[in-house]
Symmetry: C2
Subunit: 337 residues, 2 copies
DNA sequence: GTGAAAGCGCTAACAT
DNA sequence: ATGTTAGCGCTTTCAC
């Protein structure tokens, strides 16, 4: 492993000059000729800075952890990419942690942080936020940014415009002629779900409609929750002709259950889910969804964390651009005449 | 950040003693009373070793990279978990890299390694192995283990028993009475696919059948490849009554295309795909699959890498236990009488 | 059985 | 404009 010393010897200068040049320290005045000698020596030797040494010296690792409720979830592809791109641009590495039922204050995070492996952490707490876990995370003093969740204004967070997402989903159904519109929502207490439902209400209100409380199934965000939601709603005296599902995974379950029960989608029932992913294209019919700006959310969340780490400034951000967009596929159609 | 020094002061001993006790160095003779003083001091102070300092000193990071062709792919859930559990047991951290079309010798890996951030790398090169990329990876001298791929016996690798997987899939169809069995295989050159097809042939052979070459669609591992495969096979003069799809994602596409074309699954056509994941349960009908021992594969791959790092020994492993198992769901059924 | 001290590779005062 | 040097926190050899 070639180090600063070897480069310095090769260039016939001191290590400090090499260090200054290689990091292009602005406060350093280095002779043009010296600089080029150093640069070429480093290049010829294939010098790569030693991360551990730098981290030890600077007391920061340029590494952050991204904690997701479930790592291999298609819903997180874009979010992850957004975080990584932003991190890369600032020369940060992202290490992934899966929570998998773990509370956000739990073992993984503290292991990472307290051993000073990461400078901060991006936490997606999952559907329903565990307040105790969050508190312990905050209390630990680790720079942290919440994703898809808010927790007062002392702690940084980044969320998308869930209300707008619910709104465009409902708007799409209204434009197709639907009037009896239901919602398969998240579990009681899910903030994202509450905002999405509020968006649906807003769209309905604009058309002079109100959301029938009997048509809101507060189930959850898993395929199985979606199945339950469908059963619940179809059991209504006057079933809906269209449903907004607050989450893609639940939407997939809902679609499956409906199709499995012989309901013709979209002829008898239209379904639109919030969150888009390739998986929405492998069902029959394909599922209409609302795409959220998750790439942007990831980038914004990283920048918030970076700001928190470097300046100590916290901030709550709502990513509203690009705006939620309906991806029209086969599961939504006009009401029967 | 509390360090060895503070613990030493608190316990009234030297840092070296603290270090020895805290790592329970077997070659150290420490007084019982001293040891307990140190332990409690460390505990009271909440001492956590500084990873960077240790890494610098030991010239190893206890971190490995796991490079996958596509991070948020449901197919990798178990593999990832297997790797992480094994790594955790040896106090290693896993950082994830996505290749996303990147060649295995590419930018990410070299960045990680050459900056001595990781001690080695686990590479899943994806469907079709890029020989040039692999060569450059090997040439770089980085300890590496291939997952789901082999590359001569100089380089470590861990694969599952793909042949057995193809075999049990075909066996399942044969037992249901099918005789005209087709395969939607991976792209030409895909090793995993070749082995899986060979397994199908073996099962057929045992029943005195041979695999009709016209019934092997060499398409690929994406949903779209699966759709193409179905179109190709259904266009045959005598279409198959059952199909083994070499990959779950392709299987999802195949199922969708079949259902979308009005083919009744499983009455007109049975489908079984290799690889299992929750996603197979959200289609209508649910997809019958073959579960592979991916958890074990992950653990074995990590152990191979760990051996490579610590002893320099390379090895090629085939994980054949637990054996591939058919998860019977709705997409397979008896032949029509 | 325990301590002192060197040094891993790097950065940043502080010299010159 | 460039060099010298003191550590960052840890492990480990060597000394007692």
């Amino acid at each position: 492993m070639v180090n600063l010393n070897e480069v310095a010897r090769r260039a016939g200068v001191s290590v400090s000059s090499v260090s200054r040049v290689l990091r292009d320290d602005p406060s350093a005045r280095i002779g043009v000729e010296t600089r080029s000698r150093i640069l070429s020596a480093a290049h010829e030797l294939g010098y790569q800075p030693n991360h551990s040494a730098r981290a030890l010296r600077l007391a920061r690792t340029s590494t952050i952890a991204l904690v997701l409720p479930d790592l291999t979830n298609v819903l997180f592809t874009d979010l992850l990419r957004g975080v990584e791109e932003a991190a890369h641009a600032r020369d940060f590495t992202v290490v992934l942690g899966h929570a998998e039922g773990m509370q956000p204050g739990g073992a993984l995070i503290s292991r990472m942080i307290e051993r000073s492996r990461v400078d901060g952490v991006l936490v997606h707490p999952g559907d329903v936020v565990d307040a105790a876990g969050l508190c312990s995370l905050i209390a630990s003093g680790v720079p942290a940014v919440l994703i898809h969740a808010e927790y007062g204004d002392a702690i940084s967070s980044a969320i998308v415009d869930d209300t707008a997402a619910g709104e465009v989903a409902a708007q799409h159904l209204i434009e197709l002629g639907h009037r009896r519109i239901a919602v398969i929502a998240g579990a009681p207490g899910s903030e994202t779900s509450e905002r999405r439902v509020a968006g649906v209400e807003r769209a309905l209100a604009r058309t002079g409609l109100i959301l029938d409380p009997a048509l809101v199934a507060m189930v959850g965000y898993t395929p199985d929750d979606g199945r339950r939601g469908i059963r619940e709603l179809l059991a209504q005296p006057v079933p809906p002709t269209a449903i907004v599902v607050a989450n893609l995974n639940a939407g997939l379950g809902a679609l499956q259950e409906a199709v499995g029960r012989g309901v013709r989608v979209p002829d008898d029932l239209s379904l639109v889910a919030i969150h888009d992913a390739w998986i929405a294209e492998i069902t029959a019919p394909q599922l209409t969804t609302v795409a959220l700006p998750l790439l942007k959310l990831g980038a914004v969340a990283f920048e918030a964390l970076h700001a928190l780490i470097t300046t100590g400034q916290s901030a709550q951000t709502v990513v509203s651009e690009p705006a939620p967009r309906v991806m029209v596929r086969g599961s939504t159609g006009p009401t029967r005449a």
